[in-house]
Symmetry: C2
Subunit: 301 residues, 2 copies
């Protein structure tokens, strides 16, 4: 069972929300809530960062775990073209965890989200055998303006920010600039805002699980086929790492075909990698051949 | 280190949110967000329900874990006098978990929160060695009307709903009506609403960790001493279970001294257990003697 299947199963069991204030339910980077009469839509995302699943205490510092936890949540807000408002944190830790670990983690998490505009305002605590972090981030966009995965149209150009595969390379190497890339994700908040306000993005999502599977999700949500011709690689990353490696937290987005974008935005490269076409919904081709979704799927069995 | 210490440490590290839209940060049952110009305040709570901490797979069914997860979150909304709006869920499960377990859990969780008015609209999924559930519930109250822990005044009467110690008794017995009490918490949403709208409650919180520690928190937040004279016991529960047992999910609240309340509300007893007095802030006395906070504290070391 893949995450797509899981989302389908959950949606079928749950039914569509009948509340008109729920603009977007399960299936995008964030859920969207619209308060009656309000000019803002509120965005909500939750992201778990679990010991021995997403990090190891032996190789990741408390500060790096905090940066990863904050980065994953903030990146989902960036993916909708949103601005962060506030954060909640559920944190479970072992009894024997060093007090300095918790202090470093909390201080880094709180200052990182605060700098992004979102103070830590609540959450839950518990004991557990392993460290479990679950962050909730609330953000906002003007009413009706959120960038969705489903907004791509046939003929749209597909872009990515930055260079891909750095996080996968870093995980393999355990050192250097690629390791920093893996442990210190940089959520693309300013870019997400610019994509919505200035660059006319039609669809957007963040690259958390790898291009091959994330682009499949966007193509599926938009009912289109994706034709990829080129992928910008992080220095030293293999093609496989760039196509399938997860946790780059760059933005994947579409714009009207032929739209002229700057080559970079605040020193982040913007690269056209291909186009959306009519065809098999959810199919991704790389240079003409079907690209299997080998990226990370939390529910593939 | 106790949870109160943890809250103090986190608050000191984090600083007070400078955003005027954050009405209540860390330290109550819910955080409160007020959108500029809106007539509603939004309430946010997160609650972890973890395998081998809060439940065991051998003794709790998927349905019971879902009822507990939903009940814990909804109870925090009830404690503020709020009405549920929507829910997000972070769920991590082992690879080898029976598909029926996940289906039963999701179906029960989604239908329980939906019946309370709050559809499941998003969340996160992951793999883990043990089942980890973290629920986010958003609710609302009219602007400025949330019931806080800090609202009690000297001379106020202290009340609880229902009878206490049933959950602790159920955990010890593993069967019967007390076990149902433990495994199928009933969040007091209608009562919370009535306390705010009709009964003029000055402070309110839910009893999740045991009367002795939860009343300490309310007394501490209100800067008062609590004098308890009597406690309504669940049939078969010991005095210790009623005073210190957690997870009853009844409401603890205060009203103006001498206010006349009905003996029950929708078949739930309302019992005056004592009064708030000037004295040592955070001290709880039972029949004149200091009552040690033996209730469950997730961070006591």
């Amino acid at each position: 069972m893949t995450e797509l299947d899981w989302v389908r199963e959950a949606s079928r069991l749950i039914g569509l929300p009948r509340n008109p204030e729920i603009v977007q339910g399960i299936g995008d980077d964030c859920a969207i809530y619209r308060m009656k009469g309000a000019g803002r839509d509120l965005l909500f995302t939750t992201d778990m960062t679990l010991e021995d699943v997403h990090f190891r205490r032996a190789t990741h510092t408390a500060k790096q775990v905090a940066l990863k936890t904050a980065g994953r949540g903030l990146s989902d807000i960036a993916a909708m073209g949103g601005q962060p408002l506030f954060v909640l944190l559920s944190l479970a830790v072992p009894d024997d965890l060093d007090a300095a670990w918790r202090r470093d983690f909390l201080a880094t998490l709180a200052s990182t989200t605060m700098l992004a505009g979102a103070p830590l305002i609540g959450g839950d605590t518990a004991r557990a055998d392993k460290i479990l972090c679950d962050i909730v981030v609330c953000g906002w966009v003007p009413k009706g303006k959120a960038l969705l995965r489903s907004g791509a149209r046939a003929g749209n150009d597909i872009y990515v920010s930055g260079r891909l595969g750095g996080s996968a390379l870093g995980l393999a190497r355990g050192t250097g600039s690629a390791w920093r890339r893996h442990t210190e994700p940089q959520p693309r908040l300013a870019l997400g805002l610019a994509l919505r306000e200035k660059f006319g993005a039609t669809a957007c999502m963040d690259l958390s699980d790898g291009l091959s599977i994330d682009l499949l999700r966007m193509a599926h949500a938009s009912g289109l086929e994706a034709a990829v011709e080129t992928v910008p690689r992080f220095s030293g990353a293999s093609l496989a790492q760039a196509l399938h490696g997860g946790e780059d937290y760059e933005l994947l987005f579409t714009v009207q075909g032929g739209a002229v974008l700057p080559a970079e935005f605040q020193h982040i490269e913007l690269t056209r990698i291909g186009a959306m076409v009519k065809g098999t919904p959810g199919l991704v081709r790389y240079r003409g051949k079907p690209l299997p979704p080998l990226g990370h799927d939390h529910f593939r069995s």
